[in-house]
Point group: C2
Chain length 216, copies 2
């Protein structure tokens, strides 16, 4: 339970929602095989339970006690977040794809900037775009109407496993990553989930999403 990968999986499950093995793998920043091993251990320890649905396996916390224990541990850990958060490459910590949106230092920078500049606000059931933010998104080249028409939530926050802070998920998060690819700011390294910034993209991103800079 203290292992970084497992801890990240469990915190991801703290939302109460059931997640598939691959989602948890992405959340923990490990490959599917590794995640499978971890999930087997968590199952063995009765920390999570699984529901097989079609070809997916949905995992959830086994009991409220598990959540309580996690809460207690997080309380103890508060303040002294370990610096060496996860395994893997430094590039992954800098910027990577989380499911389909931007994660890592760049991801939390984006999220923080949107909040600081009044483009987004955190409501009870997740972040929402302000009117200012909607305008900004359109200017940025996002087809908000198309996104809103779909049933998927526009904004979602997602806990960043390497930074331990939230970044932007949801269909908007996905759309913004795609848009940045189109603009030539970034490209995905197919092999490693890393997101590589072009020289141009680095400057443009910083200019567009200043505000709460990475405070490290």
């Amino acid at each position: 339970m203290g292992d970084p990968a497992r801890a990240n999986m469990l915190t991801a499950l703290m939302s109460g929602k059931a997640l598939t093995a691959t989602e948890l793998a992405a959340e923990a920043g490990v490959t599917a095989q590794t995640a499978s091993g971890h999930l087997a251990k968590l199952l063995d320890g009765d920390l999570v339970l699984v529901r097989k649905q079609g070809r997916h396996k949905y995992f959830a916390l086994a009991h409220a006690d598990v959540a309580a224990a996690l809460e207690a541990l997080m309380g103890l850990a508060a303040g002294q977040l370990r610096t060496r958060t996860g395994p893997k490459d430094a590039a992954l910590r800098h910027a990577r794809v989380c499911y389909n949106h931007l994660a890592g230092q760049r991801g939390v920078q984006l999220y923080g900037s949107l909040l600081d500049r009044g483009f987004m606000e955190e409501a009870a059931d997740g972040p929402v775009l302000t009117e200012l933010g909607q305008e900004f998104a359109r200017d940025f080249g996002i087809d908000l109407d198309a996104l809103s028409a779909a049933r998927a939530p526009l904004c979602r926050s997602c806990l960043d496993w390497s930074e331990r802070r939230t970044h932007l998920a949801g269909s908007l998060g996905r759309a913004m990553l795609i848009r940045m690819e189109d603009l030539g700011w970034v490209r995905r390294d197919k092999a490693s989930r890393a997101v590589l910034f072009s020289p141009l993209g680095t400057g443009a991103f910083d200019a567009a999403f200043t505000g709460r800079q990475s405070s490290i």
Copy 2:
């Protein structure tokens, strides 16, 4: 916090009493050097606090939150106690000196036997010898009067780190170990804290302390 040695130290501290580094080392079944390293980590993580008193260092849990988290974790761990409990030698798990009394499989066998045969009862503030038990102890060759005269508690229970069950501590526990040495049943391996049973001692011990056999 998940490391066996540290977990054992923390559970030992759950009593609320402050213990010295060497006591904690014995409780965890590691040497003083190793314990020192663990304690430094626990201090670094603010899980314990230390009070220097003369040449001793007394450690205690830093906060009730730590105890709460431990409780929560123990609840989760209940039932599925890991089989491979501690490091070190198999001989140590079989029988060893815990501070000054007998611990390991033999230690919990002794404790269980005393309970099962009505020689000892578990009261709120620790185990107490029954009248039958007092008679037994005298027959065994223990000078109960001398022990009772001293201010140290006669019986104490002590959590066994390898068996995760209680064994007998206190001045009686100490006296019984000494007596068994005198009888030639056991001898202490000075180097390793292990307690080695002679062929004679093995049989005699089993005969004297049947009852609740090790149920593994």
